[in-house]
């Protein structure tokens, strides 16, 4: 019996290096964990020590393969982490509504373009909602950028330049009509990337028009037709360095020279 127990311990200890390398199946891993839980404390301690030595060796080995990740990964991770933090500590925020309780989409308006402009107070409140960015949007942006990056072999695209910029920032918000809009921008690069998720398309015969809000008023910054607006829509914005906000309005097909009804604004400062 004692020999059997010794054989079993030896078998278990034999597995420590391959266990530490993750060179076992999930089932083998569970089996090893179960055997360790039953094993003599001295055996499991020896097992742990050996696993630890291997892990430290592999940590040292990682210097041999070190490679810089794309810089936008840093931006995205810090965004996600900050987003988690602010979700966890909603108490100090200025508005009184529960953060997990965004405005319900206005059902009665669903056949119409998103609602019309707002007074100062709603604007202030909206700003808080504008801050209610979904981390999922950021992830979506990441996907867009990743795709762009690895498919493009020539000069870096606008989104890459924006994400790699020292002064890259994110501005994000929910729209009354449903969905979220996020703009990742860099004043230094004078450009931004807009991502809209789950935003309903404009009604037939109308477009969403984007405006750069600056000291001299509103500059048209492109339109989106009903066909342009997909569940996830991206657009590149240029010449943004003088703007303080990106505004959205609903206009007749073809767009307008002046906005008719601004329904959302994302700050760009």
């Amino acid at each position: 019996m004692a020999d059997e127990a010794n054989d079993s311990s030896r078998d278990l200890l034999d597995m420590a290096p391959v266990f530490a390398l993750d060179a076992v199946t999930a089932e083998e891993r569970r089996e090893i964990a179960a055997r360790l839980a039953e094993a003599d404390p001295e055996v499991s301690e020896r097992f742990d020590t050996e696993v630890r030595e291997v892990h430290e060796t592999l940590a040292a080995m990682s210097a041999g393969t070190a490679t810089e990740p794309p810089p936008e990964l840093r931006v995205r991770l810090l965004d996600l982490v900050h987003a988690e933090l602010t979700t966890k500590t909603p108490a100090e925020k200025t508005h009184t509504e529960e953060p997990g309780e965004p405005e319900a989409p206005r059902v009665e308006d669903e056949h119409l373009p998103p609602p019309v402009s707002l007074d100062e107070r709603r604007q202030a409140r909206r700003r808080n909602f504008l801050l209610a960015a979904a981390a999922a949007v950021i992830v979506a942006i990441g996907g867009v950028v990743v795709a762009g990056q690895w498919q493009t072999t020539s000069e870096p695209g606008t989104s890459e330049r924006v994400f790699a910029a020292e002064d890259v920032r994110t501005s994000s918000g929910e729209l009354d009509g449903g969905g979220t809009a996020t703009v990742v921008f860099s004043k230094e690069e004078d450009a931004g990337v807009l991502v809209m998720n789950n935003v309903a398309p404009p009604a037939e015969g109308s477009v969403y028009q984007m405006w750069l809000v600056g000291p001299e008023g509103m500059e048209p910054a492109g339109t989106m037709t009903p066909d342009d607006v997909a569940p996830s829509t991206t657009a590149v914005l240029e010449d943004i360095s003088g703007a303080t906000a990106l505004a959205f309005s609903v206009e007749p097909t073809g767009g307008s020279t002046q906005p008719t009804a601004i329904f959302a604004q994302l700050p760009l400062d």
Binding site: D14, L21, A23, A59, P69, T86, G100, T170, S172
Partner: protein, 216 residues
């Protein structure tokens, strides 16, 4: 026990609110602070985003490079690295310095995730036929030429070179390809006990060559 739990991550679908724009720190390295990685990880456990950024900067090239070596696809590697750091953020309080260095804790998390990913992407046979040729290694080496820590890199390669051919291949198939030791045995047409002892001996040699010491 050194078994590290794999957290179920929510995939970023947390309802979240955005925050002031203080995350525009310059993307420099970690010069100027004196915290060790272990201290940073303790601060990360207290949900300190500045510590998280410093920890990321101090470890990102090691984590991403190892993951890339295993997955061999930049897009997958970026996704996996993101998941790894979110896991670090969310479970840093599980790090126990008595059980090893902070770097080994992070690299261990990262490797587990990379292996899970590579195994879910393809069967072992596909892995070998698709990736098995030596010119993939050559391509990888050229990608990694940009790495700044050339001395470290050379040293690691020298240590790998000090292994016997069969030790080195066994360790590399297991660690960098995500093969189970059974798959390694099949690949190298060797009996299981032989493979296990080659891996153990190879790792011991690497440990000594790299001068790795483990307290206690």
């Amino acid at each position: 026990m050194l078994v590290v739990d794999t957290l179920a991550l929510s995939g970023g679908n947390v309802p979240a609110r955005l925050f002031p724009d203080e995350r525009t720190e310059p993307m420099t390295g970690v010069g100027g602070h004196t915290d060790t990685l272990g201290e940073l990880l303790e601060r990360v456990a207290r949900q300190d985003p500045t510590a998280f950024a410093e920890l990321y900067d101090a470890t990102r090239s090691r984590v991403f490079g190892m993951v890339l070596r295993v997955l061999r696809d930049p897009g997958y590697s970026e996704e996996t690295t993101q998941e790894v750091y979110l896991q670090v953020w969310r479970s840093a309080d599980r790090y126990d310095p008595r059980q090893g260095s902070a770097l080994s804790w992070i690299i261990t998390l990262a490797h587990r995730r990379a292996v899970d990913r590579v195994r879910s992407e393809q069967s072992g046979a596909d892995r070998e036929s698709h990736y098995g040729s030596t010119n993939v290694d050559a391509a990888f080496d050229s990608v990694s030429e940009e790495v700044t820590q050339r001395d470290d890199r050379r040293r690691v390669n020298e240590c790998l070179g000090s292994l016997t051919e069969l030790q080195r291949r066994s360790v590399e198939l297991a660690y960098y390809r995500g093969f189970t030791y059974t798959e390694v045995a099949e690949e190298l047409s060797s009996p299981l006990p032989t493979v296990k002892s080659r891996i153990r001996d190879g790792l011991k040699r690497l440990k000594n060559c790299l001068g790795v010491t483990v307290d206690g």
